[in-house]
Symmetry: C2
DNA sequence: CGGCGCATTGAACTTATTCAAACGATGTGG
DNA sequence: CCACATCGTTTGAATAAGTTCAATGCGCCG
């Protein structure tokens, strides 16, 4: 039997400012003292920079499992950083088909798709009860004009998304079903590890159907790959609980 | 028989500043008088802004068919705008597999992948003899701090790439072979039209293999789809020459 | 004219999908 | 507390879609 930690969010939550009450929008948080500042802010900011930073007024907001943080067509004014929880991003085809394009966890940013047309072009849906920081993009841009490090940080953020999606296109265009699932597991593992969680044991937050959409295949195929990897002693799985047994083995299909 | 214009570049070339000689790097060009300024610069700049703009010192460079504008691992310092010609962008998997992630034509920008890690993460290869504007990203960032319109323009540029790749992920993850090829043809058609070329008659600049890679399939499958569309009277094709006969038909597979 | 590089076409094969059924955990009501 | 409905997951068998391998065709250039 596996004893899986609620890895995506529970371990960190104690470090975060306590948030009580039921209002969806919480009081402003100080970025300068946030546990995530090393993830979502550039390094090297001085005290004066942090003072300017507070002007961005990063409020936070709770989003319940299944709720949308924003939807395709919504006016764009903010970007978001995941504080607690996780999200999927979905693009909708006119004919009703859906494609999951991202999964985002603690410290990752959402919403930059909205800059282009000044409205969002996809839906961001919470995979579990989650909390995000709200950052006014207009104020962020103003800040970028003043703090060079911040400007570069925002540019790196956007460029990073471009690089990441290029990798996803390689996955979707060139890799077999087993390779896709293996690559996904290794990717999640690395992101967990970089946040201080176990690289080998975690609970997935998304359904097989959502994962299948993200990987460009059908949910049955994903399920078969999980079963095969288990038979081959690469992983243990039980539903959404995953334990990686052979990292190298996963790396070579 | 089809009489295909060399649509990707020839019609516009007469508007562009004449460039003689064989040196790969040409003298600086004035953005303020460039035929492409409406494509690659924001609207609403005033005379003072244009004066500042010249400081970016947009030199131009010729790249021969098959040559790399930059390669994976190259140090990042510039972004590029296609003046004449066209490029493919290729990401390389460690095991040797390649994925074409973009095709860029006149007025489109290249190189923003390099911002993230300060080095390029893919190869940009000329599909034909081409000319690009070279823009120092460092100077561009400095300019962004001074000209708000410019900052927003750069942000829109990057966000636009994010939106575009989301669409490509939908294509790769959800669409059938015939739908992918049809979507590609309509996409090229729209880009041609927006540049003043025929929306229905053009020459593709890439091989079947390159197109197949971009669309996440094999070159034989692409060829079969072209043949089928021709049989179904949706297009006429002869090698890389394409004439669209039924735009609506292509739109509904 | 002959050779080379793409592109096209055919036929066998492989992979992933589709459809269908069963399973297992969870939660509800009798 | 157990029966039962529900939702997501797993598994199997038949099918469809795209790939692979191989041969042929076509235009271009020396």
């Amino acid at each position: 039997m596996l004893a899986m930690p609620s890895a995506l969010s529970s371990a960190l939550s104690s470090e975060l400012p306590s948030e009580s009450g039921t209002h969806p929008i919480e009081a402003a948080q100080r970025c300068s003292s946030c546990a995530l500042r090393n993830i979502c802010l550039p390094e090297g900011l001085d005290t004066a920079d942090y003072a300017l930073l507070e002007s961005v007024i990063c409020t936070s907001k709770r989003v319940q499992r299944g709720e949308a943080l924003y939807k395709n067509g919504d006016a764009f004014s903010n970007i978001y950083v995941v504080r607690v929880g996780s999200f999927k991003t979905v693009v909708n085809h006119p004919d009703g088909r859906e494609q999951v394009t991202r999964f985002d966890i603690t410290g990752e940013s959402l919403g930059l798709d909205g800059v282009y047309a000044n409205q969002h072009s996809c839906d961001a849906i919470a995979l579990e009860d989650s909390t995000v920081c709200i950052i006014s993009f207009e104020r962020l841009e103003a800040l970028c004009s003043q703090i060079k490090l911040m400007q570069r940080h925002v540019h790196r953020l956007m460029s990073g998304e471009i690089v990441r999606t290029a990798g996803q296109m390689m996955l979707l265009g060139n890799m077999r079903a087993d390779e896709r699932v293996a690559a996904f597991l290794l990717n999640i593992s690395a992101r967990m590890k970089s946040r201080g969680y176990s690289a080998t044991e975690f609970n997935l937050r998304m359904s097989r159907a959502e994962l299948a959409s993200y990987l460009g295949m059908k949910l049955e195929t994903v399920s078969r790959m999980f079963s095969r990897f288990q038979k081959d002693k690469l992983i243990n799985t039980h539903g959404r609980a995953v334990r990686i047994l052979d990292m190298d083995g996963l790396g070579s299909v």
